[in-house]
């Protein structure tokens, strides 16, 4: 242990000495023209947080309107715009960029690379995003209003969008280009820039899950781009890809969309699995149980995600064999997911556990994501899905996967790596208050939605029958509480530089190359690849 500490101290001193001569550029140019993975990672994370609050404000509009039966606050058309924009912003603006930001910050540090392999493309990947979301948000001010046909953009409904339509299509294309460029960068970096002797199976789980996610992105983002390109030509160039009147097939859009859409779910959850697989071993003070089986499980989930898309479309009508295939293939995903949950629990088993904020968020992830997983298995059952389809049960299901799933993992990651980024410990008390309020309110918001859905309340409506009033009131109070709780996270970030000085290792049980560099991580790291011995010590 002492030898390990000495070697880490040597590495840390080496890095500090070596890089004193060239730091970041001064002024706005540092951010506009940055090719530094840490700066770009920071920009991604701040952009994601901004979008999280904008999308969250839209959720507040939705839940305020639904707090009591009847139409009281907003016009129904605007309500539909809010549901559509909330989803687009949270999926493409908040969750995905947050994980790309984490990847930018941490992958080079974790694999011993000096930067991402294609740093200038990295700059482009980020700066396309504010443009895309600027365009998307500007549609709120256009004649006909923002898109209101749902984030799934099904034709022919979406073709009724007003002036906003081409801007929506352009924004989606830009988001896709940004994601594809980011994914290319991740793959190229991991394949070509790992430390000497770091074989693929020695890579940390976060790096592994991101490699798999990047391949998913490469395969499915172009499919979404193709689908929306066809929508554009149907609207403006006289084609009939999806228009029944011209011999087209609107159901084909749904197939193409969900061929993208289902893997997209795993794009948002696989990096979360990676984050949790880093944090649980640290705070259990044990190595991750079944590292290699985690890799195979993540790969299996990625493969299966390509052959289950039509479970979103059971009510459209399909042959019995199709229903059976998509039902059983969907249920099969529970097996590798179960392997993962089992491994996290086995990692904790007889571990010397402590419950700092990152661990609390990770534990809540394991419990609450599993609830989302179980309701997913219920939805996979074709005859049951025909009842649940388009009800609040579905809303409850995917919000359990995405909020206490993906968002909690992002929060866990932020708390876990914040001391490495800032060089200071964050305020643990505030962190714990943030965790407990978030956890209580997230359940208060989304758990009653299961009951609403089972009782038949349809989704995407601004008004409802009075029999649904009580659970809706509870959900709305929970949502406002959850929204306000996130302000505590902002307070944590604003005070992040005031805490005690963080050590290089930060957490007693942490392992991996990222903990061998100083805190805060210097502007340039690993210009000389870590020696194989240090890399091995960090991973064994």
């Amino acid at each position: 242990m002492q030898m390990e500490k000495d070697s880490m101290a040597t590495v840390a001193a080496d890095i500090t000495d070596h890089h004193d001569d060239h730091g970041p550029a001064k002024g706005i140019g540092r951010w506009l023209f940055s090719t530094n993975h840490k700066d770009i990672g920071t920009m991604y994370l701040l952009f994601s947080l901004t979008m999280f609050f904008i999308g969250g404000a839209m959720a507040m509009v939705i839940r305020s309107e639904l707090a009591v039966p009847g139409l009281q606050l907003v016009d129904p058309g605007f309500f539909n715009s809010m549901t559509t924009m909330h989803a687009l912003i949270m999926v493409f603006g908040a969750v995905m960029p947050a994980f790309v930001g984490l990847a930018n910050w941490m992958i080079p540090l974790m694999i011993g690379a000096p930067d991402m392999a294609l740093p200038r493309m990295n700059n482009w990947s980020f700066w396309i995003l504010p443009v895309a979301f600027g365009i998307l948000l500007s549609t709120l001010l256009m004649p006909g209003g923002a898109p209101a046909g749902g984030w799934t953009m099904y034709p022919p409904l979406i073709l009724q969008t007003g002036d906003a339509f081409p801007f929506l299509i352009f924004a989606v294309h830009l988001m896709g280009i940004s994601s594809i460029m980011g994914a290319i960068n991740v793959i190229v970096t991991i394949i070509n820039m790992r430390a000497p002797d770091m074989s693929l199976l020695k890579m940390p789980m976060f790096v592994w899950t991101w490699l798999i996610t990047a391949y998913l992105l490469i395969a499915v983002m172009p499919v979404l781009a193709g689908a929306v390109t066809m929508l554009l030509t149907d609207q403006f160039f006289g084609t009939s890809f999806f228009l029944a009147a011209g011999g087209g097939d609107p159901v084909m859009f749904q197939h193409i969309f969900w061929f993208f859409g289902h893997p997209e779910v795993y794009i948002m959850i696989l990096p979360a699995f990676g984050v949790v697989s880093e944090i649980i071993p640290t705070f259990s003070r044990k190595p991750l149980f079944g590292h290699d089986s985690m890799v195979y499980a993540a790969s299996s989930i990625a493969f299966l995600s390509f052959i289950v898309w039509a479970h979103h479309m059971f009510t459209v009508g399909m042959p019995l064999t199709g229903q059976l295939f998509f039902m059983f293939a969907t249920m099969l995903i529970a097996v590798p997911t179960g392997v993962k949950v089992f491994n996290w629990v086995a990692t904790m088993w007889r571990g010397s556990m402590t419950f700092e904020t990152p661990m609390l968020f990770s534990l809540a992830f394991v419990f609450l994501f599993t609830i989302g997983g179980f309701s997913g298995v219920m939805l996979a059952i074709t005859p049951a899905d025909i009842q649940y389809h388009d009800t609040y049960f579905v809303v409850a299901h995917f919000h359990y996967v995405l909020v206490p799933g993906s968002v909690f993992a992002i929060m866990a990651a932020a708390y876990y790596w914040l001391p490495k980024w800032t060089g200071h410990m964050y305020n643990e008390t505030l962190g714990k208050v943030h965790f407990w309020t978030s956890t209580i309110f997230v359940n208060m918001t989304f758990f009653p939605m299961h009951f609403l859905g089972l009782a038949g309340m349809p989704r995407r409506i601004p008004d409802y029958s009075t029999q649904f009033a009580d659970f809706n009131a509870i959900a709305s109070i929970g949502a406002i509480g959850f929204g306000l709780s996130q302000l505590i996270f902002v307070a944590v970030l604003l005070t992040a530089w005031k805490g005690s000085k963080a050590t290089d290792r930060v957490w007693e049980g942490s392992h991996g190359l990222e903990w061998t560099v100083p805190s805060p991580a210097p502007y340039h790291t690993w210009e000389t690849p870590p020696q194989a011995r240090i890399a091995n010590e960090a991973f064994d």
């Binding site: 392999a117 294609l118 594809i180 994914a183 290319i184 793959i187 190229v188 394949i191 070509n192 820039m193 490469i218 395969a219 499915v220 983002m221 172009p222 499919v223 781009a225 193709g226 689908a227 390109t229 066809m230 084609t239 009939s240 890809f241 011209g246 011999g247 087209g248 097939d249 084909m252 193409i256 061929f259």
Partner: protein, 36 residues
């Protein structure tokens, strides 16, 4: 691995992965063309 080889590998990997992305984009549009 020397720098030149690494740069060549990086360029090759990026081109292959980018080509896969373009193939998916064009492929799905072609599928739409053939079906409609």
């Amino acid at each position: 691995m020397d720098d030149a080889t690494r740069k060549k590998n990086i360029r090759r990997t990026a081109l292959v992965v980018g080509a896969i992305a373009v193939a998916f984009y064009v492929g799905f549009i072609m599928m739409g063309v053939l079906r409609s």
